[in-house]
Symmetry: C2
Subunit: 305 residues, 2 copies
């Protein structure tokens, strides 16, 4: 059975009734809801679901419909950059499906959102039709506010589907990509400029760590380095937190705690453990459950207690 | 299907033909061979296999038979404490089987080894018949050499099964226990007294870390802290390596690298990762594969690449 993962991000993290309506839209489709992560400060909700390709794009379309009806970008406030009510819809190949197939699904989903909901759609990452749009940050530059005028005046901001004007639902980026890890690190300081300086140091765009996108934000009065890790095989989570700790300590600050937004591939945690424990990479072959699964054709993790 | 794991340790890590004969004894039974780890310096081999209860004790018995025939303790040299050719045979409940059942299996296996092979058998950990024998170190104190005389002269060393005298195959400890992690940490020094001092600091027996047994040994000219972690939920692997690093740095030494002997439960690595990444313990609930497995009734880890 082919499985596609979909992780739409919505510009609403506070109103419970709107979040419930988004979740209900997923549950009404023939997919498996895996996770709902809402954040009041980012004012953002990330929903994770998996399923076969067709039901997944149906579920994604329905959430876009709900978001467009109930989320008004003209009054939305939050610390996370965003361009739309449903801000970004990534499709991720999970099992028995190729990234190229997810590109095809993203384009069909984007066309439907553009045509039927009248929302400007930008294809991104592997689904991008312009080289610069492989980078989501380029599409979101200046957020909803900048896009309101530039979508008409700036030819480079022409959407792939839908009208070249934004209403209260804004625009949406629809794409296909590999697994991404959203990892936030809180610092023992209320000084957001420290988080911003650390983010500049570690991000790939400024010759920091490969596959790392980072922002410094203020969340609940605490400085936070908010990271998207687009390839944990290029930079492990352990390398990432070690770099953040070093950069923080150079500024006299310690890490308070971390959090994951949404889900994390098991292999990313195993790799982080091997790094932290100074074990060689091939030690992943010494995981008991992998061996038992290979030997008995029945893989089951020992449950956490 | 009930699955029991068995991890016999043999006092032979150098002669390839003997190791092959031990492996062949496992493969001849209806069990799944998972791992063979041999160490020349410890002169020791750890074999891991799983299967249904009856075949597992049959396979374990056959390896004991091979070991008794081919390994001579009177000439064996190695840095690891040991009392027998097959030195220790732990049975571990893995799936749909209780620890109490493994205790019953250990006693039947021990009786057969004692009676049919004429080897003294000490039941240990959950299978122990005397309180002090829950601790394997008590049974192995002084190694094979001390046991040669004390087994006859010291009433506390009376075996549970088999004769109260040791031949060239020595004696064996047979027991039932939870999963154990064998984790060795190499130091950037040839000074074994530093590894020994660190071992004394961290071991549970000297009020160090709970569930930690540790020795300092010299392996290939490098000081090594050799640890058995009997409960990774009491002390995580990350807490363990952090304690070793701190104790080493207090002595002006850094950790060079680590190794696992045999296999490690996946949950132990996930917990180590959460600790190292400063994530809360409940973050294990954010592992993608666990959610997909629960939703689709089909758990499959994304393979390592």
């Amino acid at each position: 059975m082919a499985l596609v993962e979909c992780v739409p991000n919505f510009s609403e993290g506070r109103r419970a009734d709107v979040i419930a309506a988004l979740v209900a839209a997923v549950e009404a489709a023939s997919v498996h809801l895996l996770d709902v992560s809402s954040d009041r400060d980012h004012n953002r909700t990330v929903i994770t679901f998996v399923g076969e390709p067709e039901p997944v794009i149906e579920a994604a379309y329905r959430t876009a419909q709900v978001a467009a009806a109930q989320i008004d970008l003209t009054t939305h406030r939050g610390v996370h950059p965003r361009i739309g009510a449903v801000d970004v819809i990534p499709l991720i190949p999970l099992r028995e499906v190729a990234l190229a197939e997810c590109v095809g699904l993203a384009r069909r989903l984007g066309q439907r959102i553009g045509t039927e909901l009248g929302i400007p759609v930008y294809l991104y990452e592997a689904a991008a039709t312009r080289a610069e749009r492989t980078n989501l940050a380029v599409i979101r530059r200046g957020g909803y506010e900048a896009l309101q005028t530039s979508i008409e005046s700036d030819a480079t901001r022409q959407p792939d589907f839908g009208p070249a004007r934004v209403g209260s639902a804004g625009a949406v980026a629809v794409g296909a990509r590999g697994p991404l890890i959203a990892f936030n690190v809180y610092l023992e300081t209320p000084d957001v400029t420290i988080a911003q300086a650390i983010a500049r140091t570690i991000r790939a765009a400024s010759d920091g760590l490969p596959a790392v996108k980072a922002l410094g934000v203020l969340v609940g009065g605490q400085a936070q380095v908010s990271v998207n890790l687009t390839d944990f095989r290029q930079t492990s989570l352990h390398t990432l937190i070690t770099a953040i700790r070093t950069a923080a300590q150079q500024r006299g600050v310690e890490i308070a705690r971390s959090e994951l937004v949404g889900l994390v591939p098991q292999a990313a945690l195993i790799e982080a453990a091997l790094d932290a424990l100074m074990l060689p990479p091939q030690a992943h072959d010494q995981v008991l459950e992998y061996r038992v699964g290979a030997a008995t054709q029945d893989y089951r993790p020992v449950p956490f207690e």
